[in-house]
């Protein structure tokens, strides 16, 4: 998995277990199609985190900070927030 720029003190694995399915379900993250040749700055997971943060009016950090993780764990509607 990618070394996400995560704040220190949170366990990456646990956070990713929350973030990846959420971003796949509601922000169209395609985990299976992640590019092999990762070029600096085009990390799709970071982009989707930023898209989700922007939608909810959170600070756009591209990281799994506590506010973002908290938002991801709120009960919600199953319709995606973004569409192809």
């Amino acid at each position: 998995s990618y070394n996400l720029p995560v704040n220190h003190g949170t366990t990456l694995e646990k956070n990713l277990l929350v973030a990846e399915p959420y971003l796949e379900k509601f922000y169209g993250l395609k985990m299976k199609e992640l590019p092999l040749n990762k070029i600096k700055g085009n990390d799709p997971v970071v982009e989707k985190i930023e898209e989700m943060q922007e939608f909810f009016g959170l600070e756009v950090t591209g990281t799994l900070d506590s506010a973002t993780l908290e938002m991801m764990q709120k009960p919600r509607c199953g319709v995606p927030d973004v569409h192809d």
Binding site: K25, F55, G57, C77, G78
Partner: protein
């Protein structure tokens, strides 16, 4: 607000829904009521109507299901995803599914079915998620007291972008004639009004979709769309009156009436006029006026009137009575009325009668638009 890509909408106003199964968490009656009330949230502000059917394919099929339930979007057990719905369209289009693993309730414990259903039905009608945290179409669940629920302006603008306001529907029934779109000319000699009331020191004249606001100390008159002040009210208000002591104005159309305080629509409305004590044969109001000195409100219907006691909240006995016999010089009918400074002002066509409530007689005959300084 957002709409779905390519803006799918229903191509008809009269939609059907069918409740396919029930959650064991609530009584059937509570489920039925929550679903009906959730549709009313949207029918109150659009031309849409929702009729329940019990067999066959409805436009909006409603069901409770757990985990995998046949639409490639499995539910995820307790919390997380509560429900989902599909944009307008044939087949699964418009359908709403609720996660049976959640604890569904009719109040604010657990997840309130009415609140979630109203959100999902927004999707069924073509609305997408909104970024406005105050909006019903915001993706996350927010526990609010369902009896105090109000649609946000964001939601109203969104749904009216797709379907128009409550009366924009092409007239299929005689009681919905198409409304003029140009502002009324208040100085026309044949000017008539649908209803008139005072409101916090102003006089409000209702005409079709418009209202004219007259501040007593200011000759200027502003003409606005009624929906600017009360977006969820229909146009064509037929009667209105103010109870100044409660800072409330009551507005009537056909068999329904609403209560507002300023621009705030009070919860629990519309109510049916029967709840005021009218006999069932009364279907609409011609005019209404409240006398703040006596605390009595007069409702005018055809040649008759009823008297309602605002303090005891009950209709006085031995009514209806004839207008012409009780209000000498007035009648037989009244189209609009309001109270100001010891006088009733009764409107009949392009004529207005000033009536002294102490001496009980007509003191002046004026043009209906005499308040506008024409």
């Amino acid at each position: 607000f957002n709409v779905f890509p390519r803006q799918p909408t229903w191509k008809k106003y009269d939609l059907t829904y069918r409740i396919m199964n029930y959650t064991p968490d609530m009584t059937r009656a509570d489920v039925d009521y929550a679903i009906e009330k959730a549709f009313k949230v949207w029918s109150n502000v659009t031309p849409l109507t929702f009729r329940r059917i019990y067999m066959g394919e409805a436009d909006i099929m409603i069901s409770f299901a757990s985990g995998v339930h046949g639409d490639f979007y499995p539910f995820d057990g307790r919390h997380g995803t509560l429900a989902h719905a599909y944009a307008p369209g044939p087949g699964i289009g418009g359908d709403a599914h609720f996660d049976e693993d959640e604890g569904w309730t009719a109040d604010i414990r657990g997840y309130n079915l009415f609140l979630v259903a109203a959100h999902e039905f927004g999707h069924s009608l073509g609305l997408d998620h909104s970024r406005d945290p105050q909006a019903l179409m915001y993706p996350n669940y927010k526990a609010v007291d369902p009896s105090r629920f109000r649609l946000s302006q964001d939601d109203v603008k969104g749904i009216q972008t797709l379907y128009g306001g409550p009366v924009n529907r092409p007239s299929k029934s005689p009681e919905l004639p198409s409304k003029p779109t140009t502002k009324p000319n208040v100085c026309s000699s044949s000017m008539t009004f649908d209803a008139i009331t005072t409101l916090r020191g102003e006089i409000i004249f209702f005409k079709d979709r418009f209202l004219m606001r007259k501040q007593l100390q200011n000759p200027k008159v502003s003409v606005d769309l009624l929906s600017l002040f009360w977006p969820s009210l229909p146009s064509g208000i037929q009667a209105a009156y103010e109870v100044e002591s409660k800072d409330q104005v009551f507005l009537f159309k056909d068999s329904k009436y609403w209560a507002v305080s300023g621009t705030n629509l009070l919860t629990g409305y519309p109510k049916n006029i029967q709840s005021l004590g009218f006999p069932s044969y009364v279907k609409k109001m011609d005019a209404a006026v409240h006398n703040p000195v006596t605390g009595k409100t007069y409702f005018f219907v055809g040649n008759n009137y009823w008297r309602y006691d605002e303090r005891s909240q009950s209709m006085d006995k031995n009514y209806p009575r004839q207008i012409a016999k009780a209000f000498l010089g007035v009648g037989p009918k009244v189209e609009a009325a309001f109270y100001y400074n010891r006088h009733y002002y009764f409107f009949q066509g392009a004529k207005q009668l000033e009536y002294d409530t102490f001496s009980n007689r007509v003191t002046q005959v004026l043009n209906s638009n005499s308040w506008f300084g024409c």
